[in-house]
Amino acid sequence: MNRRTLLSRTTAGLTTLAAASLLSFTALAADTIRIGTVAPKTGPLAGGALVSQWPNVDLWIQEVNERGGLKLKDGQKKIELVAYDDKTNPTEHIKAVQRLATQDKVDFIIAPYGTGFNIAAAPIYAKYDYPQIAVTSVTDQIGELTERYPSLFFTLGSTTAFVEGLRDVLVKLKDEGKINNKIAMVNVADAFGIELAEVARPTFEAAGFELVYDKSYPLGTPDLSPIVKGAKATDADSFVAWSYPPDTFGLTEQAVIEDLNVKVFYTAVATAFPAYGGKFGAQIENVLGAGGVNPDTPEMQAYRTKHEEVTGKAPDYWASANTYASLQILETAIEAVGEVNREAVTDYIKTHTFDTIMGPISFENQNSNRFWTVGQWQGGVFRGVVSSNIDGAVDVKLKDGWK
């Protein structure tokens, strides 16, 4: 290749490149707004994400597009969703976000699913200035993380808040003389379960409780009967499990089989899933769990009806509503700013109060203190019994057998 052909080819190449960028520019100026999302559709967290996260993304987009799209300064724009499966793998997740930012050039990204993923991906969201309204992320490092990442928001509370919510329930029952001061506690040997158990140990002991059984089990343990038998052998009135979905189901089933006769039975993630109620029916009356909602407000009723109508299934009684509320926050902030200006949207979220299905939400140091921590199955509905700044908590009832 001589110099001249090289030159002409380079020129041709550059022209094509320029044309291409012009094309992509026109694409950007089209009448859609591109929103990306990365969450698990396969892998260990998929079962949870397909209950609490994906249906809400679908619902929200359908609703926004039905009314014509997001109202921006240069007209209404429908949402175009770019979705990737992170396969419950943090590396895949970060790659997908990178792709959304640099290749798909999406305007906004919906926050990840799961505590670990929200923390692991925070640097890359921050790098491209995407506001990240984390929902399914419960950690005690909220202060530290929000300081480091100025576009990161938390909405579901901290580990300590969750443990203290349950502690308050237990202390109240103990002071009323309804339960003894002995607790059987187990946790899944995974970041989530270990962190909760580590916070719970000193918290329960400081409140005058004695942990008479305190064990962990590996994720995916096929037979949980030794654990339930072990707990049954103690004289604890309370059983607390910092558990994940498969073991939440497994521990409850074993408790039914062993007739674990406790007055307080608590399992963590998935207790709020409709599938949990579906599986156990009336047996789980008065089971306590993480999360909760107040299903009686008109906003929540409208949301639950719409969710079933659009996605064909019921939302859970915890993070579903929070997830939808986080999308409402994003929507309001984008419309208020009126253009694709991510920094302005982040600033707007920091300084305003948002009307959501969970009631008014505002952020203090990028953290919302409006969430449920403990819920209880009562009459086929998982109702919130302890909250942070939300009304409508119902009284806790004692578990009375597993009829």
Binding site: K41, T42, G220, D223, G230, D259, K279, F280
Partner: protein, 287 residues
């Protein structure tokens, strides 16, 4: 007593997971990484049939087994047979079949997630039953009994029938089997299909007491692999015994020491067997 009975039941579960893979790997020489997915497919069928038309998983099982047999037969003939044909050495077939079935496992996960991405959870025979003073779940007992039935039937078939003997012959030496007039291709396909049927049946039973989802297959593949290697590749008795040992040890450790150490104990036994008897409990040492 508690430990013995719970351990035996868990061992039964593990046997359900491992017997199919043993047939596929031991006889057909296909290291089937989609084994776990086959199991989860069986579970999905049980879940769908139960939630849609309240069909008992025990009935579903009878439908799933022949379906899985047919599907695995077709999969072997269409997808894996070409690999067997072109393989110049057993090592190459192993690598090729691992890659091929790894791919198949992804396809199956995608399929299952698109059908039902959430947890397969329902309640079937979740009732207590007393055995010798120990409370166990009926669904686990049923699964263990069926596992014992399948195991006994397979061992009997392998040892006392003509076809069974042919299957064992192929597992010992393919070339020699061919020399004495055994249709190795046919027997391999049969073993592979039968293995798939056993695994899927196991899935329908396991789904009655373990909550599964579409992407959980790999956990079962790993467990099956450990058991098959511990028991000795190609020997069904070895797999059954290894499964029971694993069940007993895990239950004993969980009850007496700490539930957190069950995985550790399983791997310690695995390591011990690899160190001192690398061919597995019943495996034959290579000449």
């Amino acid at each position: 007593m508690d430990i013995l009975i719970s351990g035996l039941l868990l061992g039964g579960t593990y046997a359900l997971v491992a017997m199919g893979l043993n047939l596929q790997y031991g006889v057909a020489r296909i290291m089937n990484l989609a084994n776990g997915e086959t199991l989860v497919l069986g579970a999905l069928a049980a879940f769908l049939a139960f939630t849609a038309i309240s069909l008992s998983p025990l009935v579903t099982m009878l439908v799933v087994a022949p379906l899985s047999f047919a599907a695995n037969w077709v999969a072997y003939r269409l997808l894996l047979r070409p690999l067997v044909k072109r393989a110049k050495s057993p090592g190459q077939l192993e690598v090729d079949s691992i890659l091929a079935t790894f791919g198949i496992s992804f396809a199956l996960v995608g399929l299952m997630v698109s059908i039902h991405g959430e947890y397969y959870t329902y309640s079937f025979l979740a009732r207590p039953i007393e055995i010798l003073g120990t409370t166990v779940a009926e669904n686990r007992l049923v699964a263990a009994l069926v596992a014992a039935g399948i195991g006994a039937a397979l061992v009997g078939w392998l040892n006392f029938t003509r076809t069974g003997t042919a299957v064992r012959a192929v597992s010992v030496d393919r070339q020699a089997a061919q020399l004495v007039g055994i249709n190795v291709a046919r027997v391999s396909a049969l073993a592979f299909a039968l293995g798939g049927a056993v695994t899927a049946t196991g899935g329908t039973l396991i789904s009655t007491f373990i909550t599964l989802d579409g992407s959980m297959g790999v956990i079962f593949t790993m467990k099956a692999l450990i058991i098959v290697i511990m028991g000795g590749v190609g020997d069904l008795r070895g797999s059954i015994i290894a499964a029971i040992v694993l069940g007993l040890v895990e239950t004993a450790v969980a009850s007496l020491i700490d539930p957190g150490l069950t995985l550790v104990s399983a791997y310690v036994i695995f390591l011990g067997i690899l160190l001192f008897r690398p061919q597995g409990l019943f495996g034959k040492r290579n000449a």
